[in-house]
Symmetry: C2
Subunit: 306 residues, 2 copies
Amino acid sequence: MKTLLEAIRPTTFLEPLKLREHMGIDLTIATETFQHTGSFKFRAAYNAALNAPGDHMITASSGNFGQALALACRMLGKRCHVVMPDTSAQVKIDSVRGFGAEVILIDTKTVGREERLDQLMEEFPEAYRASPYDDDFVIDGNSSLGDEITAFAEFDVIVAPVGGGGMISGISKALCRAGHKTELCGAEPLLGNDAARSLAAGRLIRNEQEPMSLADGARTISVGNRNWEIIKDGVSKIYEVTEDGIRNALFAYFLEVNLKVEPTGALSLGAVMENRADFEGKKVCCIVSGGNVDAKVYGEIIGAGS
Amino acid sequence: MKTLLEAIRPTTFLEPLKLREHMGIDLTIATETFQHTGSFKFRAAYNAALNAPGDHMITASSGNFGQALALACRMLGKRCHVVMPDTSAQVKIDSVRGFGAEVILIDTKTVGREERLDQLMEEFPEAYRASPYDDDFVIDGNSSLGDEITAFAEFDVIVAPVGGGGMISGISKALCRAGHKTELCGAEPLLGNDAARSLAAGRLIRNEQEPMSLADGARTISVGNRNWEIIKDGVSKIYEVTEDGIRNALFAYFLEVNLKVEPTGALSLGAVMENRADFEGKKVCCIVSGGNVDAKVYGEIIGAGS
């Protein structure tokens, strides 16, 4: 049974010359696109599957966390159920099944994800119900990325994508541990700016509905409660990135860094590109959360940018 | 003045779980897509600019070597001329100029590249004329990639893309140094299979004309003389990859590895995918030479594959 640090792939640091010169900013990229299952979520999922009691994990995820938990459970010999909307891309469903998890497809118009999870927990009371972000094991797993970043360099500012807040709360914990004075900022879609509004108001605010941003990893109603408790003190600012900003950052990664990123992963660079003055003269680390993007969506963004 | 090893970025090794399971082959990727200027050519160019006599470098290149030499010369404070066809993509011309090199555009219908280089050498007799592959400094620079691969693991077989033979001859030198019994194979486009025909015939054979493969880094008339001397003994086989094989490998990298590669960089995986039986049960390293590809070309391949 591998420890978390044995199981994960260390993040990949890039110091892209062209992008640095083009932007005039001392930029380092920490990319999780080559993490197992293609996103940082594997850190969270493996840590949860490793430490949760029992031998059965249950979650709801249409995206990266489902794949990551499925693989983690396979590696650790645990049973795994993943609740997914029946509108999920077939390639994502196949991928979760391919790692040996049992997929439960739901029609989200007739049954909510949480409702279906409640039913499953009644059926399997010994199972562990893992939130993709609002979970201490998940936050601790993600903090391993923060440890790698603080060990790599002492940055003036780190920018992390924000969906449910699982990553940024983990990074915040790692910064505290390291005693770095690094400023931690988030980047979320302007279309779903609940975290920015929450930080401004000093209390957790929810979106009315799931925001339909291109950044599908940030289509969350709000950050989680556990995440909010960390974010409210540990994060200085949340940037609100336009949809064009996401596209432009994704294309800049393609063109100047040779890096394939998913729209959610492009949020942090999008924030820097749209707010250049805030980052001038600073040593900046942008975190790329993952690289799993539909080929059609990606091809269209690249084609339009060229 | 940085040494070669100080100047280059170490290669990025990937051990992609999905691709391994999908193919059933113990595959490791050594990717040079994140090397400075986005391809392995920077190793060659820097080593040439570092060691060549004089303070002026001249080359002809429509692609990665020109950019790499321009940056190397900027880093080393040398003057640099790059002869490019006037049909080169503007983005490539801009990139070479952006690194401070002087670009000489030629109409290849009226003047050959070698002819124009001859003229330049008359004008600047103190300059060093660097071939992108047929040059000992270039081969030695590329051998640094081979050193990194032999230090990473002892593979049963390494597959390298072949254009002018600069990379594969460098890898061969490194394998000799390390005393590894690793088999070294090449992968070139079937459309321009001069190296495969040369190896079969035991003598250097040239294409009639520049092969119009999608793999633009392998549109060479033949491998170089210095490269051939190494290849004829050090390389066991050259795979001839179809154009569809190149596309399929490029898409597999996109889909299963989150890796953006250029068509020439996809040749090695294309060879493994088209000749799976040859690699079964072996520990295989595929080298990706670079990631610089036109957005339109890439978007079309990705869109078609989805």
